[in-house]
Amino acid sequence: MSGKIMSLTQAAALVQDGDMLALGGNALTRIPAAFVRELARQGRKDMRLVKTAGAYDVDLLCAAGAVAQTQTGYVGFENLFGLAPSYRLSVEEGRVQAVEHACSTVIAGLRASAYGLPSQPVAGLEGSDVAALTGFRQVKDPYTGESTYMVPRIRPRFAVLHVTYADAEGNARIDGGAFEDVLMSRAAESVILTAERIEETAFFVEKPDRTAVPAFMVQAVVHAPGGARPGGCHPFYDIDEDAVGAYLDSASGAESLRAHLDAWEERDHAGSAAASGSVV
């Protein structure tokens, strides 16, 4: 049974210009890299991206001119490579609206959505300019009178998650750090999975407590081995620093970005080409 399995091309085509996407993983770990490359190749525009800590995924979509807004706590390449050049430039030049968050306020906004609330209170933020800049409003707690910041609901159209294992129906297991992926799956209207491995149902029946996303939440499953590269994906591969560096070298211009996307295209589609019988 093919279930919800489709090609990377088909899954990326579910995303419309202007959609809000929550991107799974964190920094350079278990990111939906093949998926964002395909969005860039398909020329998607005006994406609104949600993530606690982004790196390659957010930067590449900025480089491709595919982003209208980011809601993030951090975007950068840590001490490996420093600032995220295309993100930085896009924001500085006013092409991308970077909504300033703490990671905890991204989480609070996702919680509001997951819990069916218009907004979610959050602790912290005292003394920070973030709340005033972003416009987080306060309510007086009705019991204690304390002022509490409320973060408005963040409801992405899709959570796009690169997971270690999925079945054809959309059950997903995440080995290694889950980061905010589970919350994202609950906060979003629907979920698109890319997966290192496609497993049979029995794999999930054996350890149902390990299933991070139940099938009924999921709209599409793409077999994408290596789909987090050049990021790492436990237990399959580590961060490929050389490849991240090569991206950063190439991302400075439209032509070199095109070359980067082209260079990854065959690998990105290799796992899911059979799913649809045709590749782009």
Partner: protein, 250 residues
Amino acid sequence: MSVALREGAAEDVRAAADRMAVFLSRFIRDGELVFHGVASPLPMAAVVMARNTHAPNLTYLNIPGGVDPKPSHLPGSTVARQLMEGALSYFTLTEIFDLSARGKLDLAFLGGAQIDARGDMNLSFIGDPASPKVRLPGGAGSAHILPTAGRTVLWRTVHDARSFPERCDFVTASGNVEAVVTPLCIFKKAEGRLRVKSIHQGVTADALRAATGFDLGDLEQTPTTPEPTDAERVALHAADPEGVRQREFI
């Protein structure tokens, strides 16, 4: 100092990284719950080494979520999977924020691009936020952790007047800052302002003043930071034999 480091030999970088890692580790008390976040090789090395010096019973929390991992080697990204190796449980970033919010996170290490005279930090913008000269990466969890954790220790590997201004261009986070560790000195926060707690060996008071954008007051009685002990050096090198901590200086 930042200029000196950039022009200096690799040996200078190693010495500065070793000092800062050791000095950070000294803020950890045995038995504490200790957290560092993204882009934090120095605290990572400090926490791992402290388990083999004075804080064997610390509990180490990090973004990938491994509680008390025993990493086979220290990764360049402090969000990498090595920080889950050998853990007995996982505790996600979301859980760590909640833990801090309810007053149970003892100590957090956080970095800042700017750290000002009040101990506030900036990881968001240089210049006007509406039209920034530099869009920085963002403060990650700092706006949440600084006011809610029991104590926080900040660090920055560049010590110059732009990095240590009287007031940050933008306050990303403000709160329970105990100290700030730099390549030149250790600040402590007292009565709402950073004071020099100790100056590192070989750094003159004049050089420190020249490298700092806010008034440091009288430095005559300021002690010298005790150099890393042999035991600390051994523990640090055992924790981070590949010198990942030096990547913060690149």
